[in-house]
Homo-oligomer: 296 residues x 2
């Protein structure tokens, strides 16, 4: 069998983002961690880690990491079944899109998390990026907009979020007094999460035929996104879950009535027999079905 | 003089995170962008971009980028002074720590932003990481915990945020019924933003002499951090600005009364004569002095 002490050292370097932090977590010296990774590379005859800041696993390193995480998950389940670990915690590394984390994820999972000795290791990214975390072996499961399952993974539909182009009433009056058009839009500031965020492009291409040149105002904060829009600083795309109350209060209005961009969300996780993964998946699906709209 | 068309192409590739996106923004074909970057590399006799995903500037590339951004800033100011640009916007790339963005930044800047044709290109990271964005030429200014100015930059004190170790009353009763100690803490879940977040380590080292092994629960969302703690899922470090109301309502309590970890915040920006940078800096300092505590 593989020497899991060596694998554990490599996984810690990747998880913690460096040899020094890995040493701290494993209660080893930094040189001992370094030795273990080197030995694992000699045994497998391949470079497993690129020594960058932070260190990055190579393709071979990712494959080993994924295996290591699956074994650890099975082992944690064994601990729970045999009560080996007493009252200690088990950790689930999960990828989640920033908008889900900012909205429905906590209400969906708080009862489950309050009752179980489960710690989450959440990694956040855009909904069309989180599946990379799963593919690369960083997480055991992820919430993603990708509908095709990965090899060796299950994929369940969770529900959808509808994004509308919203603005404050004052902003609409200032920039769109002559109605909504590509021309008026190209003069107004547009709030965008970051360069990977293409939600507005998809909507505008569909509604206007093409996305005009915009005045991008970048705010990489899901929690603050709605506030920048409500303050009248820009228009921007918000899901129902994040703007419902502000729309009801009349503080936000839809700039393109009747039009929205739908994002279907899916739960991807490795197809391993793990009671903790199973119960987490069940709770997530149940919570999503309460808090997200569903179209199938 | 340098060929700024070529520099602009390289800057767009870095800013937009790829040749394809850069081409879209510049209204060029992808191969034209590629040609321009190659030509700039030939002229300067150095590799400027590592062709990774996303492309990364080399040391020489960063130096050129920084220069390009400074020239663009001066040019934008000229546009404003001579009214060349009409009613168009000017963009300020700014680095900001996630906790500031989640708390005082918008209230501090909303009046300024509402009155001026300024778009922000905000980049977010930990307070001890944002200065790298300035050093690497990604932003023109940053809010950072670093107190030493960079060469060619100004550095102004903004104020401080005090972080306390907080929990819900139920969480305190469950895990700390015998009082707060390293032992009781080592059994309880601890909310941590991500692997770079060391706030709790600093406090615990000071109060307990050493940081015990913890049960880390990672939630990379400033906006949701307080909610996970208020739900009783973990204890965690929160600044006054983010927990004041919850503490006043009795929904959060301080686990180590009288102890907090102070983070001084500074505004770093390039020392170039730019009226927009100047007015932005003035507004930021005035806003911070209203919303942050100050100790000097």
């Amino acid at each position: 069998m593989l020497d899991y002490k060596l694998l554990e050292a490599m996984a810690a370097v990747v998880d913690e983002g460096g040899f020094e932090r890995a040493a701290r977590v494993l209660h080893l010296t930094q040189s001992a961690v370094s030795q273990r990774v080197k030995l694992l590379e000699e045994q497998s005859g391949q470079i497993l880690l690129v020594r960058s800041h932070p260190p990055q696993p190579t393709e071979a390193g990712m494959r080993l990491l994924k295996h290591c995480r699956q074994v650890r998950r099975l082992e944690d389940d064994l601990d729970v079944d045999l009560n080996l670990a007493g009252d200690s915690f088990t950790t689930l590394p999960v990828g989640i899109n920033a908008d889900s984390l900012a909205t429905w994820f906590l209400p969906a999972m708080q009862d489950y998390l309050a009752e179980r000795p489960v710690l989450l290791d959440l990694r956040s990214d855009d909904q069309d990026q989180t599946h990379r975390l799963l593919r690369d072996g960083v997480v055991l499961g992820c919430v993603s907009s990708r509908s095709e399952p990965f090899q060796g993974c299950r994929c369940d539909y969770l529900g959808h979020m509808d994004y509308r182009l919203l603005a404050s009433p004052g902003f609409r009056d200032k920039w769109f007094s002559g109605g909504f058009s590509a021309k008026s839009l190209s003069r107004a500031p547009m709030l965008i999460y970051n360069r990977k965020d293409e939600m507005h492009v998809l909507l505008l291409q569909r509604v206007l035929g093409a996305c005009p040149d915009l005045n991008p105002f970048y705010v990489p904060s899901s929690g603050r996104f709605a506030d920048f829009i409500a303050q009248g600083l820009a228009c921007g795309m918000l899901p129902e879950q994040q703007c419902g109350e502000l729309v009801a209060q009349g503080r936000l209005v839809n700039l393109i009535p009747g039009e929205s961009e739908r994002v279907d969300l899916f739960w991807h996780c490795w197809n391993i027999e793990s009671s903790v993964m199973d119960s987490f998946s069940r709770a997530l699906k149940a919570g999503a079905s309460r808090l997200l709209a569903r179209n199938r």
